[in-house]
Structures are given as C-alpha cells and as structure tokens.
C-alpha cells in the first residue's frame, strides 16, 4: 500500500485536483457565485464555441479512423512478417514516434511539406506543387496528416498484442472446415480483433481531441479547436476575465473524454474475455 502511495499522491495532485477544479470553476461566475451562465454561453449557437467543439470532434474522429485503419493493416502486416528482429525494430520505433508531438513536430512538417518545405520544393520542381492543388499544411486535412505522425505508431503499438494473440490454430481449424482467407477474417479474425480495435480508436480519438501545441503553431485560428480556445482564455495576450468560460470549455472536454473513456473500458472488458 505504501509502495503505491506516491502514485496516488501524484495522480491526485496532477489529475484529480486540476480536473476537479475545472469542473467546479465551470459552474461559477466571475463573482464566485454558483452559476450556469458559462455553460449557457457554451451552448449558445450565436457564440463560436459549439462550432469549436464540432471541429475538434470531427478532427479527432477523422484522425482516429484514418490512423486506426492504416495502423491495423500495418500491425497485421508486421505480425505476418517472418523476421522477428524487424518486428522488434518497428515496435521500438513506434514507441518513440508515438510520443513525438508539440512545436517540434509542427516545425518538422513546416520544413518538409510547408509551403517552402524540402519535399514541397522537390515536388514543385517535378511539376506538381501540392499547394497549387489545394493542399495546405495549415488546414483541417493538413492537421490530420500531422496527427497521423504520432497516431499511426500508437495504433501499431496498441494493436500488435491483439493481432499477435490471434492463434494460428484458429486459422488452421477454419481452413480445415473449408474457410478461405476472406471467410476466416470475416467470421473469426475481425470479430476477435473488433473490441480491441474500437478501444484503440477511443485512445486515438482522445489523443487527437486533446492535442494542442502542434495545431497552435500551424493554424492561428484557421481551424478553430477547443483546446486552442481554452488557451486563448487562460494564457493569452488578448482576453482577460474569461477564465471561467475557459473552465466551462474544459468541462465540456472532460465530458467528451469521460464518454470516450467509458466506451473504452466497456470494450476493453469484452476484449479481455476473448483474448486471455
């Protein structure tokens, strides 16, 4: 018990207390009185905040689905790769890349596929400048591509264990009974993989939903996201006296994350029943 005490103190101080204070402050007005005014402002369609949530949710969902599908294919390919060294190499690399983010990542992308990036220049010289064909790193689709940089490796990391857990015997049993590859995946493989896959998508969704600094550097408000709006209320050079509205926006994010987290726990239970 004493051994885990530091962990609980840490989680208490750095997660429970701040999240709790956000939830309490969201329901107070600027005079410190209990109030629903901030939440009402949040839900007022004449204000920009609902649009912020819609954009944030859309970005997180699109990023999660794209990363999830490509990452799952990657994990399956990696498991069927005969060389184990390769598998170790890739999963170690994924461990590092999944933790890349923030301002350095934004600048890496600006330097490579920004409007005067190295790759952009190269493509332009070959006669295809992506910026003349609607591509822009400082846009919704640009952010999806940047987010894939850390979401894809995370997917592979999270999907490797369940894909590895698909037993060879199941496949052999299926083909003995006359199933071809497609039938095997449809009737056996995918149903077993589905719960951990959905759980992984929830993690990807939450990761993308809460990401901040990369989008901050790349977009200056062109893609209105909730974390950026909270940032301007709590840590800006332009708005004073709106801390409680920032808390209310944070409260909304906590609600979204709780829903996604609950879904994660639910499917995770099913997973452990299947893949013991």
């Amino acid at each position: 018990m004493i051994g885990v005490a530091p962990f609980f103190v840490y989680v208490g101080l750095f997660l429970v207390v701040p999240a709790g204070s956000v939830m309490v402050e969201a329901f107070h007005d600027n005079n410190g009185r209990l109030s629903l005014a901030n939440i009402r402002t949040l839900l007022d369609s004449s204000q920009p905040y609902l649009h912020d949530y819609a954009t944030s949710l859309e970005l997180a969902a699109v990023s999660a689905v794209v990363a999830g599908v490509i990452g799952l294919l990657g994990a399956v390919a990696l498991v069927s790769f005969p060389n184990r060294t390769m598998r170790h190499l890739v999963s170690t690399a994924c461990g590092v890349l999944a933790n890349t983010g923030g301002v350095p990542l934004a600048f890496a992308f600006i330097a490579s596929v920004g409007n005067s990036g190295v790759i952009t220049d190269l493509l332009a010289r070959l006669g295809f400048n992506p910026y003349d064909h609607g591509f822009n790193i400082s846009s919704f689709s640009g952010l999806v591509i940047v987010y894939l940089y850390f979401l894809l490796p995370l997917t592979i990391l999270l999907m490797l264990p369940p894909v590895e857990a698909l037993r060879r015997e199941w496949r052999e049993a299926a083909s003995t009974l006359g199933a071809d590859t497609r039938t095997y995946w449809r009737k056996v493989g995918l149903p077993v993989i589905a719960p951990p896959f959905v759980a992984t998508m929830m993690v990807l969704f939450m990761d993308a939903f809460a990401a901040y600094a990369t989008a901050d550097v790349l977009t200056t408000g062109v893609v209105p996201l909730v974390p950026l709006t909270i940032g301007q209320f709590l840590d800006g050079n332009a708005v004073a006296n709106q801390v409680h509205l920032g808390d209310a926006l944070g409260f909304g994010m906590v609600v979204v994350v709780i829903i996604a987290g609950a879904l994660y726990v639910f499917v995770q239970r099913r997973t452990s029943r299947w893949l013991r």
């Binding site: 701040p18 954009t55 550097v217 840590d235």
Partner: protein, 413 residues
C-alpha cells in the same frame, strides 16, 4: 491498460502538452503556492525584523515618487543595496530589452533576472498573484492594456485588485493623461507601430498599401505573429486593417473582414510567424508579416544572417496604428527600490531612446523630439510617419478583442 488511459487523457506526452498541462495544473499551482506563500510570509516576516532598522528601505515599498523617500540619489543607493531586479516576459529580442537590461546592469550593478521570458500577459498576472512572497515574484511588469486595467480592478473570484504598486516617475507629467492610471498604478511605456515586413528577394512588389497584400504575388505569404485572439501583435494587425478599410478603433469588424478577404484570396498564411524567433521567415514559409515595427526590426537584424533573405519594412499608406503596452510595479515586489529605479531609468531619455532604437514608439517620444533629447540612432529606428498614429484606449482595445474572439474563427475558418 489503466495506465495508458490516464496518460492519454492527459494527452500526447511530449512537448505538446507543456503549455496545456500548465493550464490544467494552474489550479494546483495556485493551491500549492498558497501553501508556500504561507511559509514565505513567516520567513520574510522574521527577516524583516532583523533588517527593519534600515528604515529608508521599507519607505520604498510604498513610495509614490522618489522624492517621498529622499530623492533620486537615495533611490539609487537603496536599489544598489537590493542588488537584484526580477522581471518577467521581457525577451531580449523584444523592444530592445537585451540592450536595455545590459545597460541598466552596467550602470547600477543591479542584476536582472527574467523568470519567464516567453510568457504572456495572462502569465504575468498569474505570476504576481501566485508567486507572492516567493523569490520568483516579479518586481515589474510590461503588460498588455487589457491586463493592466484588470490588475487594478481585480478579477472577481480569482484575485482582488489592485495588485500593482502605484509609482510616478519624474517624467510622469510628460505622459498624456489618457496614457496613465490617474492613481499611478500603470502608465504607457512604449507602443508597437504596425508595419509590414516582407522578403524582398521573393516578393518584388513592396506592399505600400493594404490592398497590395491582396495581389496574387502574396499568395500564401502574409502571416501574423499569432492569432489575434491570443496575441497583442496579431490583434494590432487587425486594428490597423480596420482603420484603413473603413473601420475605426471602435469599429473593428472591417479589420476582421479584411483578413477574411485575405484568406479567401489564398494570401493569408496561418503559420504562427512570431512563434520561433525569425524561424518561419528564415525558412521562407512566411514571406510577409503584419506586426509591430520593433518585431520587424528585430527579425530584420536576425535575418541579415540568413543567406538569400532581404527583410524590408514598410509603413503602409493610410493611417498608421500604434498600440501601447503598460509598465507597472508589482504590489508584492521583492525589490521595491530596484523596481522604482528601473522605471525611472526606462522613462528617462536614456531608456526611452533605447526603446526607440528597438523600433518602438516610446511614451514620451513627442516631447523628446521637441526638446531635442531624442538621439540620432533612435530617430533612425522610428519610422517617419505622414501623420500622428491612431491609438486605442484600454477599453477600446478590450472591446475590440472581445469582438475578434467572437468573429475570428468564422472569418478565416
């Protein structure tokens, strides 16, 4: 899997969450610092018992003018005895602060520590409140107008104002009454003048008018310091666009509309231009910026080292726009005499000239040009204007920012 869940909720565990984490944990920081402040108060109370025989030292904590505690020579002596000055959010590349600090330290032997060079105005307020009684408490603040007025009025439920200590420098009367708090809590220190900088090696048309920025030559070129919803310089650009496109300091919508047009033309580059020094300009991802003249000048000096970049600065035709920042002393300043000497220095012709050399418009500039105290170097750095710049009062700035918060995303989103 619970560990993974916790980590992901906290979001991507890298540099990315540094700023966000700060916010999430701000509550804890306040709680923790309240505890620490409690201890700090006890220790500093006992310290002041031993040092209180220096009665002149305590005089400076509330001095409204230097004369109240024995004049300038007494102030210099008391400040030297303190030996240190704590500032915050004064980057050395901003408004010539690097040279200003060097000169101050050389002159008085007082060491300057910047506790948070890359902070924001909101951070400054936070630091005054939560570092109270701790060594990290800033002595002096250089802060956005919205925040200066907030620091005096207080923020209900968060802190009670004023958290500034009033002080009037010897040059107090040279600052117009619209540019200072009547009780001495803050005063304009210098203004940023909005100019357009551009890479003349790539862009051949000098953007001498606002409509030039809409030309095809500026495709994906024009960047802002940061979003006007989060940055004073970004907001200044919107104000300048407003007053030159049919609006005024009280009618900011035309400025937002200008950026809407700029974005629709494909000329607005949303990369945060001021985020990493001259980086985005040096790697040519931002080819033009609308920003404070002093930032343009600082980039120009930096970019001179980058081969193939010729950063030119123009004051676009029309009405020039300048927005002031405010200078104030923390009510809990650990070095009250050094803080007051710093202000005396900054408002003296020496300090004002150094600010001007960095490309700002110092608060007493008009008087200095008239009475001949403006230095040649300063006159060279301050752009010649066809007319007096338009400025906005703190309440006009706050109202404009509120509108930008509401409208920016739908204009450029």
């Amino acid at each position: 899997m619970n560990g993974t869940f916790v980590r992901d909720e906290k979001e991507d565990p890298s540099g990315m969450q540094k700023k966000t984490a700060l916010r999430w944990y701000a509550g804890v920081a306040i709680a923790a610092s309240a505890l620490v402040a409690g201890f700090g108060a006890v220790t500093s109370a006992s310290a002041s018992v031993t040092s209180s025989h220096a009665s002149s030292a305590s005089c400076w904590t509330t001095a409204l003018t230097a004369n109240q505690c024995g004049g300038m020579s007494a102030l210099v002596a008391a400040a030297k005895a303190e030996g240190n000055l704590t500032v915050t959010t004064d980057p050395t590349t901003w408004a010539n602060y690097g040279n200003i600090m060097k000169d101050f330290t050389a002159k008085y032997g007082i060491k300057i520590l910047d506790t948070n060079p890359n902070g924001t105005s909101a951070d400054e307020i936070q630091e005054i409140v939560s570092d109270k009684g701790k060594p990290a408490e800033p002595d002096v603040l250089d802060i956005g107008l919205t925040y200066a007025t907030e620091a005096v009025s207080g923020e209900p439920g968060v802190f009670t104002g004023p958290i500034f200590s009033p002080y009037e420098t010897q040059e107090w009367n040279e600052i117009p009454s619209s540019g200072k708090n009547p009780k001495g809590y803050w005063a304009y220190d210098y203004a940023g003048l909005v100019t357009i900088g551009y890479n003349a090696n790539v862009i051949k048309t000098a953007p001498t008018t606002w409509s030039d920025l809409l030309l095809p030559e500026f495709k994906d070129a024009v960047g802002l310091d940061n979003a006007p919803t989060a940055s004073g310089a970004g907001f200044g650009a919107v104000m300048a666009a407003a007053i030159n496109n049919g609006g005024s300091v009280t009618n900011v919508q035309p400025g937002i509309n200008f950026f809407k047009k700029l974005h629709a033309a494909g000329n607005f580059n949303p990369i945060e231009a001021g985020g990493a020094g001259d980086g985005p300009m040096a790697d040519k991802s931002v080819l033009a910026t609308i920003d404070w003249n002093f930032n343009q000048l600082s980039w120009q000096q930096e970019l001179a080292k980058s081969p193939g970049i010729d950063w030119k600065i123009v004051v676009p035709a029309g009405k020039p726009y300048a927005q002031y920042y405010a200078m104030a002393i923390s009510a809990y300043a650990p070095h009250p005499a050094a803080a007051r000497l710093w202000l005396e220095y900054l408002y003296s012709p020496t300090g004002q000239n150094l600010w001007a050399e960095g490309g700002t418009l110092p608060a007493t500039w008009t008087t200095m040009v008239k009475d001949g105290t403006a230095s040649a170097a300063a006159k060279k750095a301050v752009p010649t204007l066809s007319q007096a710049p338009v400025t906005a009062t703190p309440s006009e700035v706050t109202a404009g920012q509120d509108l930008v918060i509401k409208e920016w995303a739908s204009a450029v989103g």
